[in-house]
Symmetry: C2
Subunit: 215 residues, 2 copies
């Protein structure tokens, strides 16, 4: 939680040794390095898919037919690797959300965004637990998703639809929780929409002062 989801903040993501210019996609790498990076990503996706987000990194390296040292050189930590592995998906999430928000009311766009985030947390078993840390890795996808979330939230708040004191981290955290709950075995399938809905209602600005309504 687990493993360690003890301290939930940090920054991470450091490319090979120096000169990473071309951002996290690995642009300025030597040919062999680039090839290995791609192999690692593919292997990671495969292994995480079938064994969960806390699979052995040794297995990932093995599957990529690469030394464990190589894995660690490319990805500083499990979270960095996870972030890189989810990158495309997150990028897509952000892009689609942006498009959607042009034809949807802000609040609705935010709701779908949240639902997608929850869904993303279920990408690999156990991913939800570290989604918070993962999103802090400055990957193209992570940054895009974070930015988009911030944008939607701020907009909804400007429109008076959402409590003004809520932070994006609050939202991310709740998305994690919901993903987590969804992963419980024996959990009924309606739980996700139920929790998402509840959370969303709580997010909204209060229409009436509230005190009223007895019993």
């Amino acid at each position: 939680m687990n493993t360690e989801l003890s301290s939930v903040f940090q920054v991470a993501t450091k490319q090979p040794r120096k000169k990473q210019e071309e951002d996290a996609t690995g642009g300025a790498l030597r040919a062999d390095a680039r090839r290995n990076r791609e192999r690692l990503l593919a292997a990671a996706h495969a292994v995480f898919s079938e064994r969960g987000a806390d699979a052995s990194l040794g297995d990932v390296a093995k599957r990529a037919e690469v030394g464990i040292g190589t894995l660690y050189r490319h990805f500083e930590s499990r979270e960095a690797l996870l972030a890189a592995t989810c990158d495309e998906r997150l990028l897509l999430l952000a892009r689609e959300s942006r498009e959607r928000s042009e034809s949807l009311p802000t609040l609705e766009a935010l709701r779908v965004f949240l639902a997608e985030l929850v869904h993303c947390g279920g990408m690999y078993k156990g991913l939800a637990a570290s989604l918070g840390i993962v999103l802090k890795n400055h990957t193209v996808g992570c940054d895009a998703t974070t930015a988009e979330g911030e944008r939607l939230l701020k907009a909804a708040q400007r429109e008076g639809e959402v409590r003004s004191d809520v932070l994006l981290d609050d939202v991310v955290c709740m998305a994690m929780a919901i993903s987590l709950a969804a992963a419980e075995n024996g959990s009924d399938p309606k739980r996700i929409p139920r929790l998402t809905g509840m959370f969303f209602d709580g997010l909204r600005s209060r229409p009436e002062p509230r005190g009223a309504r007895q019993r």
Copy 2:
């Protein structure tokens, strides 16, 4: 994380070998066994307090001046040990809640219960991540807390104050999430009440039909 908070359900808690009659408190144990059990609990509390809920169990045994085997004989898993360690606290939580609910409106009692649960999740660093599993251990305290939560929730639902489709697990899960968020370093102190409040608003029955309210 999770360590490892991958699969979140299970039952656990099995006393020594057989004849545990007197429930989890360890009534029918041999004198030496009982003594060791108590030492382990004290040590566990100490170690978990200073190193977090995912501290090495070897350290716990060492601090208790007991073999690691003894630890595992008494507590089947880390979660069982955690549950036993939190037992008193949970028992108190349940008792106080019950008393409180006699002088408070149900909804308010439920709110305080939730807040207390969140607070309890912060008892040891990293405890929140496994609170769900921990509560599933059939300890006196766990059972009492679960029962009390169920009672309050059901009552609030009967009174029409809370959505009728919500389950206790949903509530526990959200409490975990909030505890978790509170543990982030750099997290502002107002986050807990904010999140608890939001969650609570979401929990409540909707007064209006739904569609209404524009903007």
